[in-house]
Amino acid sequence: MGRPLDESDLIGRAQRGDTHAYEELVYAHQGIAFRTAYVIAGNAADAEDAAQDAFVKAWRALGRFREGAPFRPWLLQIVANEARNRRRSAGRRAHLALRAATEQPSGDAAPSPEASLLSAELRDALLAAVNELPEDQRTVIALRFFAGLSEHEVAEALGLPEGTVKSRSARALERLRESYD
């Protein structure tokens, strides 16, 4: 049995038209793609469509993908574009909500250390403050903290200089601190 293919092997094979190799890339990145699309678009149907379209567009654009470059930020840029386009065409702001289970936790699930930091009141207030942020700041915060992207990845996904992401992030955190403190 041969060694499992690494990402650059899969990309190389996909560039040569191997749809099975591309399917493996989809499997590896569909979680972060969907989550990124969701925090931007704000609803599951749009996020799913955006992620799916992004994977199809990425396949078509594979010929232009620079050999040796990381696949994830390149893909997430396409995903973010698709999700923003959907949000714009729907003409509404993304509005994120808490899980119902969070409001009524089951007895079995032990809260995570981070979750235990937040009281229900504080959680609600913080989320409301995030939802009220200007769209450009909200998107940066959502990608950075809710989708778990690094600052560099946020910059790549939004097609912005890293400095712009840092300044938007700083301004947003300043506003949120007012709700949190």
Binding site: V26, Y27, V56, R99, T102, L122, L126, L127, F145, L173
Partner: protein, 231 residues
């Protein structure tokens, strides 16, 4: 990471984000549909190219396809009855012989000729011409700039073959049978300048110019000369 940033990370874990859908089958289906479509399109194009090639190789089909078309400022038309015409000199109707400088000035067309230049040239508005000697035979070279000059070539003889020629952006080779050449004026003037029976002809477009070679060379020789002229 500050306390606020840790709180945001915690908040992210408690958001109502649905479980990720498995996109593999739908993405794969769309990609494979596209791959199939592209293969079908490539196959259809290949079939079309072969069909056109076969059609052009068969005289009756070729004649139907090439009944009427343009190459640059040249129009080729198949008619049922040839206009009256007779054998005349290659330069009949082109006016008096001029020096190169005068011909270029009179025609407004700078000559393109990467070959030894003859001493006599002919000019009409938008057209410059010269008789070259190649492989021991006389060949009339005519060059047309843009659409200033119209040239209609009409032919009827079933023995005349019209086939694509690999030169310039598009080329055509006319050989055999009787065909008649008619010079026409520019800008819609229907001023007939000359009508005569023509020999073998190579016509091709290259850039903003149309070239025409006429003489008794065969196709390979004419192509060789044509490529040399515009080299």
């Amino acid at each position: 990471m500050t306390e606020l940033e840790r709180a945001l990370v915690a908040l992210g874990r408690e958001l109502d984000i649905p479980p990720e859908p498995d996109l593999r089958s739908r993405v794969r289906e769309r990609i494979e549909r596209r791959v199939r479509y592209r293969r079908a399109a490539v196959l259809a194009l290949a079939v079309l190219v072969v069909a056109v090639g076969i059609a052009l190789a068969v005289p009756p089909a070729r004649s139907a396809i090439l009944r009427f078309f343009h190459i640059g400022s040249v129009t080729i038309e198949r008619v049922d009855t040839l206009p009256a015409a007779r054998e005349r000199s290659l330069v009949a109707g082109l006016g008096p012989a001029l020096s190169l400088r005068h011909a270029e000035k009179s025609s407004g067309v700078p000559l393109v000729l990467n070959a030894p230049k003859p001493r006599r040239f002919y000019a009409q508005p938008g057209l410059i011409a010269a008789v070259l000697h190649y492989r021991g035979k006389s060949v009339l070279l005519a060059e047309f700039q843009g659409d200033q000059m119209g040239l209609t070539k009409k032919f009827v003889s079933p023995g005349t073959s019209v086939e694509p020629a690999p030169i310039g952006s598009f080329g055509v080779w006319l050989e055999g049978g009787k065909h008649v050449l008619t010079w026409q004026g520019a800008s819609g003037e229907i001023r007939q300048m000359e009508r005569r029976l023509a020999g073998n002809v190579l016509i091709w477009a290259q850039g903003n110019r149309t070239y025409r070679l006429e003489g008794s060379l065969n196709k390979a020789e004419m192509l060789e000369l044509g490529r040399q002229i515009t080299r």
